[in-house]
């Protein structure tokens, strides 16, 4: 049975600066349901990406998780057990997320090998996943190195790798930040289709309210390491309760006002 709900509870993350502990994420709780996209929004540096990484115990060196747990369908799990197995992750910058001296095929084989998937089904699985991610001609692409591919292709490849893992949940950490608008739209469409058709539960980290409007079902707003507001996407846009949410929305609208007026 595919799990239907992933919950992060009371996550706290700290680092040490000049000998004093600095709290980077404070008591963050989130719930991602299958077939639904939860957007985690907030200004740069408010702890969004860190929340994703730390909940899977993959925070960068020097940063530690001090509190919190992750539970699937109400059952608490060790983060190391669900990384790549129940939660796949798409990173922010596709160009640096691939080892420059390895081909796509080697990347594609790495995850299954790490998870102990039998070798027999691997090739077929990655082919299907690549087709789902909009990459035709899998054989040609699998032979390429990262520098031989465009940013859009790499991001699709990353999504394909995530899909091939068969994980029911996906953490997408600013999946469209470094891409041009057209590729952005394609990737967003792809993510939307995957949540609808394959029942993927997506935690979408972004600071782009346009992406939120296009993709999210629910929104959690973060500020300075805390969740300040959670709600359905329409409520966040039309009836923002917290000043930070209002600020984000207004900043977004002010950027696009001229265009929507024209």
């Amino acid at each position: 049975m595919t799990p239907s709900c992933l919950a992060i509870r009371g996550l706290g993350v700290e680092t040490t600066r000049h000998g004093a502990a600095v709290r980077l994420v404070d008591d963050v709780s989130l719930e991602v349901r299958a077939g639904e996209t939860l957007a985690l929004v907030g200004a740069s540096g408010c702890g969004k990406s860190l929340t994703c990484a730390a909940s899977l115990d993959a925070a960068p060196p020097g940063v530690r998780r001090t509190a919190g747990s992750i539970a699937i369908d109400g059952v608490e799990q060790a983060p190391a057990d669900i990384r790549g197995r129940l939660v796949a992750t798409i990173l922010q910058n596709p160009r640096s997320a691939f080892n420059p001296v390895r081909t796509m095929r080697q990347h594609a084989m790495e995850g299954p090998a790490a998870r102990g998937v039998p070798a027999a089904g691997r090739a077929q699985r990655i082919r299907v996943a690549m087709a789902d991610a909009g990459l035709e001609d899998a054989d040609r692409i699998l032979a390429l190195h990262p520098f031989e591919m465009s940013g859009g292709m790499l991001q699709r490849m990353m999504i394909a790798l995530a899909l091939a893992s068969g994980a029911p949940f996906l953490f997408a950490d600013e999946p469209t930040t470094d891409l041009d608008l057209i590729v952005q739209r394609d990737i967003l469409d792809l993510l939307l289709r995957l949540t609808r058709e394959q029942g993927l539960g997506v935690l979408l980290v972004t600071h782009d309210m346009g992406v939120v409007a296009a993709l999210a079902d629910r929104v959690a707003v973060m500020d300075a390491g805390r969740i300040v507001e959670t709600g359905a996407v329409m409520d966040i846009f039309h009836r923002p309760a917290h000043p930070v949410t209002r600020g984000l929305r207004d900043a977004h609208l002010s950027l696009y006002r001229d265009r929507s007026a024209a």
């Binding site: 990484a53 899977l56 993959a58 960068p60 060196p61 020097g62 190391a80 990384r83 790549g84 197995r85 796949a88 992750t89 990173l91 922010q92 910058n93 640096s96 997320a97 691939f98 080892n99 420059p100 001296v101 390895r102 790495e110 995850g111 090998a113 790490a114 998870r115 909009g134 990459l135 035709e136 001609d137 040609r140 032979a143 390429l144 190195h145 520098f147 031989e148 591919m149 465009s150 940013g151 859009g152 292709m153 699709r156 990353m158 790798l161 893992s165 953490f171 057209i182 590729v183 394609d186």
Partner: protein, 302 residues
């Protein structure tokens, strides 16, 4: 529309504008200059002699025959005989097995320790890193020969102990290098991606970090092999490593000391063997470095 992207990249790739491997690995021989080729041949020949040593020596290297002691070179004994009538060429060949074998063993120990300790230090970071690197610093401060003498003094005389002593005195350089490379790559996104894809730290290290250190390790190792060879022979010369009856170049030089004025060739041959081996290995290491370092290659304009 993003198919345009794909098409463009596809075009580039299909027209070989971006060759998958700008320089193939098999090109070493073709690109190498003649000293490197000779060095490669010599190293190959040495390795062959070391492997086949026991079977291809013209005489028994340990057979004493005092009737023919200190003979000059002739058809039966190509390089003559030593003070106990043993065939010098056979002893040189048997010595190659001893020298290269012990060097290979020492190198294997050094590489293993260097990769494991350096990799752990770089990858784990924090206190582990501090402890390992401070220990490494201690080993780096001693001149290696002094340290090796000390180790042999503690462990006792014998080839095994010499090999251990050499490994103990050399691992720190390798550990430092591996740590440096691991540190420079540790925070890259693809390491995080590997971790997030479910790989354990060991798997991530072996798959993404170890290959990156291989080129440098290979170069440092080839350059160091000559150095280690001199160590083994040097310690044997001092009577700390291989003991007298066994054929080993350092022992042969030590044996020949008494005859240095009357029979200088006795000392010359093992010295020449040592010189040629060390020279060949260093030249090969140099050529490998030129080949594996992209910035140097760009300067050469290949």
């Amino acid at each position: 529309m993003s198919s345009l992207d794909a098409e463009l990249a596809g075009d580039l790739a299909s027209h070989d504008l971006i060759p998958p491997h700008a320089h193939g690995r098999r090109g070493f021989w073709r690109e190498a200059r003649w000293p490197a080729r000779i060095a490669a041949l010599v190293v190959g020949a040495l390795a062959l002699i070391a492997l086949l040593g026991a079977w291809i020596t013209p005489h028994d290297p340990d057979a004493v025959d005092l009737a023919i002691r200190l003979q000059p070179a002739d058809a039966a004994h190509w390089l003559g005989t030593d003070h106990l009538g043993r065939d010098i060429l056979s002893r040189l060949m048997a010595g190659a097995t001893m020298s290269l074998g012990s060097v290979a063993l020492a190198m294997a120990l050094i590489l293993t320790a260097g990769v494991i300790l350096g990799g752990t230090a770089g990858f784990a970071g924090g206190r582990v890193d501090q402890v390992i690197m401070r220990v490494a610093d201690v080993f780096l401060t001693f001149p290696t020969i002094v340290m090796a003498l000390f180790m042999v003094g503690v462990l006792g005389v014998g080839l095994t102990n010499v090999i251990i002593a050499i490994a103990v005195t050399h691992w720190a350089w390798y550990a430092r290098m591996v740590r440096g490379i691991v540190l420079s790559l540790r925070r890259r996104d693809f390491i995080a991606a590997s971790r997030l894809a479910g790989a354990s730290p060991t798997q991530t290290f072996i798959r993404h970090l170890l290959p990156a250190t291989m080129a440098q390790l290979l170069v440092l190792a080839t350059l160091d092999i000559g150095h280690i060879m001199l160590h083994v022979s040097g310690l044997s010369f001092l009577g700390l490593g291989v003991s007298a009856p066994t054929a080993e170049w350092g022992v042969m030089i030590a044996d020949a000391r008494e005859y240095v004025w009357t029979e200088p060739l006795l000392m010359f041959w093992p010295g020449l063997a040592l010189f040629i081996s060390v020279m060949a290995l260093n030249t090969l290491g140099d050529a490998l470095r030129d080949r594996l370092d992209p910035s140097l290659r760009a300067e050469h304009g290949h």
